[in-house]
């Protein structure tokens, strides 16, 4: 044996350097492959064990949950079933993970079943300790665990956890606070929306749409806080307030809307003009003229010209006609011509005398008058 190693050693020593390098690489790759195989096998074994545990819990808990959901249980039977489920998930090492599996099972049924079954599942969620688990996750978990806990609590309509959830509506992590804001509106209705009164963090447009979607259920109610939101220093809150005003017909804050036409933020200003137009707020026309003179932003001017079509009368027809004749900016001439057409004033569009319009202006008017387009 010793002779074999000695001979191998001298054989390797005698090799040319390039062969030594190749040999070294081959050995290194073989070792790496072996390590990889071990890692893959270990991962597979862990995954299999988790899957087996998941299957076992589902197999055992499913009939009990079905019994609870579909049967007319009395209190004693219900408590007995809860004990049975607790025994299934009980484990010194894996209790938390087992509860997670059970949580997904209950949520799955909740997503698919309605009526009485829906209420029973909510009762089960509370009694089985899943609500408590979600509340613990809210306090101690990483951001993704917190976000999931909030989502679960709102899906399961755990209204009593609203106060806990409200603590996260201005949380530094965006995903957590967005979930909390959505859950707050879902569970607490318009009163819970007061978190917007002093919200510091910005809301994305998508988040505003999600909250608006939840708020549509208050369509025929007066939302007192709209004024506070319109006065907020958080521009995203102001824009959301305008969306609420427009989509939920909250006319009572028209005074605030008038002030927002002069807002220094372009997005807010644009939304304010859009809202005034949608709410047919024709009293703001004089302010719109002022803003048109003050602003240098083409987008704002375009919004105003568009608003004139809906809010304006004969004076605005004259203004639009003049804009087409004198304005150099292509987009504004186009918008003014379009507004006249929307007002049904084709007669004005064809009334221009020769040389009154520039070459560009003429083509725009011709284009707008073409009914095929």
């Amino acid at each position: 044996m010793r002779r074999f190693f000695t001979e191998t050693y001298y054989f390797l020593l005698a090799l040319e350097p390039r062969y030594k390098i190749v040999l070294f690489l081959v050995i290194a790759l073989l070792l790496l492959a072996a390590v990889m195989v071990v890692i893959v096998l270990r991962e597979r074994s862990t995954k299999n064990s988790v899957e087996n545990r998941e299957r076992r819990i589902k197999r055992n808990a499913e009939p009990i949950i079905q019994e609870i959901v579909f049967s007319e249980y009395d209190g004693a039977e219900f408590k007995d079933s809860i004990k049975k489920i607790n025994r299934i998930v009980d484990s010194a090492l894996y209790r938390r993970s087992n509860m997670g599996i059970l949580n997904e099972l209950v949520l799955y049924y909740h997503r698919n079943l309605g009526g009485e079954a829906f209420t029973r599942l909510e009762m089960l969620y509370r009694e089985i300790g899943l609500k408590q688990l979600a509340q613990e996750n809210l306090k101690n978990g990483d951001w993704h665990i917190k976000a999931k806990a909030i989502n679960d609590l709102s899906t399961m309509r755990m209204g009593e956890t609203l106060y806990d959830i409200l603590q996260f509506t201005d949380y530094p992590n965006q995903n957590v606070r967005y979930e909390a804001q959505y859950a707050a509106v879902k569970l607490g209705g318009k009163k819970a929306m007061s978190f917007l009164d002093d919200l510091d963090t910005p809301m994305s447009e998508w988040q505003q749409i999600r909250l608006l979607d939840q708020s549509l259920k208050f369509e025929y109610e007066l939302i007192d806080q709209v004024g506070t939101w319109l006065r907020s220093t958080n521009n995203s809150v102001v824009v959301f307030g305008l969306m609420i005003m427009r989509h939920l017909n909250q006319y009572h804050e028209k005074g605030e809307l008038l002030k927002l036409l002069y807002h220094k933020n372009e997005k807010v200003q644009e939304k304010a003009i859009e809202t005034a137009r949608e709410l047919a707020y024709s009293e703001c026309i004089e302010s719109l003229y002022e803003v048109y003179e003050l602003t240098k932003q083409t987008r704002i001017k375009k919004q105003i010209l568009r608003a004139f079509a809906d809010l304006g009368g004969s004076k605005e027809v004259g203004f639009l006609r003049e804009t087409i004749a004198k304005e150099k900016e292509y987009n504004l001439v186009f918008e003014a011509a379009l507004s006249l057409k929307r007002m049904g004033r084709r007669d004005v569009l064809i009334s221009y005398k020769e040389q009154e319009l520039s070459e560009k202006g003429e083509s725009i008017v011709k284009h707008i008058l073409d009914d095929r387009i």
Binding site: P63, Q66, F70, L113, G114
Partner: protein, 125 residues
């Protein structure tokens, strides 16, 4: 004693399939299940069912195709479609192909029971 009505549940989601089977068995029906349209057709060829409850979104043969095939073959059993597709187009298509009733998820199991009773009553007439 009257014979139990036989119901076939076709759904690729095992949890929904099992839950429905549990509920309908509890209601006193004789329940059979299939996880896709192909298996459902095989079962329908060998057994006679009084009602077929089918999901729409399924692998191989969708619920729409299943209804079409069943109606082409002249199967008398009423078909109740159960789906998460909550759109007018889906409802119209299902009825157009010959479905007898339609429910969207999340559905109330109690409402499902009532609809099944109604379908069975109509089928007997």
């Amino acid at each position: 004693m009257s014979e139990k009505a036989k119901i076939l549940i076709v759904d690729d989601e095992p949890l929904i399939r099992d839950a429905l089977a549990f509920k309908l068995t509890k209601d006193g029906y004789d329940v059979d299940t299939a996880e896709d349209g192909e298996k459902a057709i095989q079962k329908i060829e060998s057994e006679e069912y009084q009602i077929i409850i089918s999901d729409i979104m399924m692998p191989f043969i969708s619920g729409f195709e299943l209804v079409k095939i069943l109606k082409e073959r002249g199967t008398d059993a009423p078909v109740l479609m159960l789906t998460s597709l909550n759109s007018e187009t889906a409802v119209l298509k299902a009825f157009d192909l010959g479905a007898d009733d339609f429910m969207t998820k999340p559905f109330s199991p109690n409402e499902l029971s009532v609809r099944i009773k109604k379908l069975l009553k109509n089928a007997k007439k």
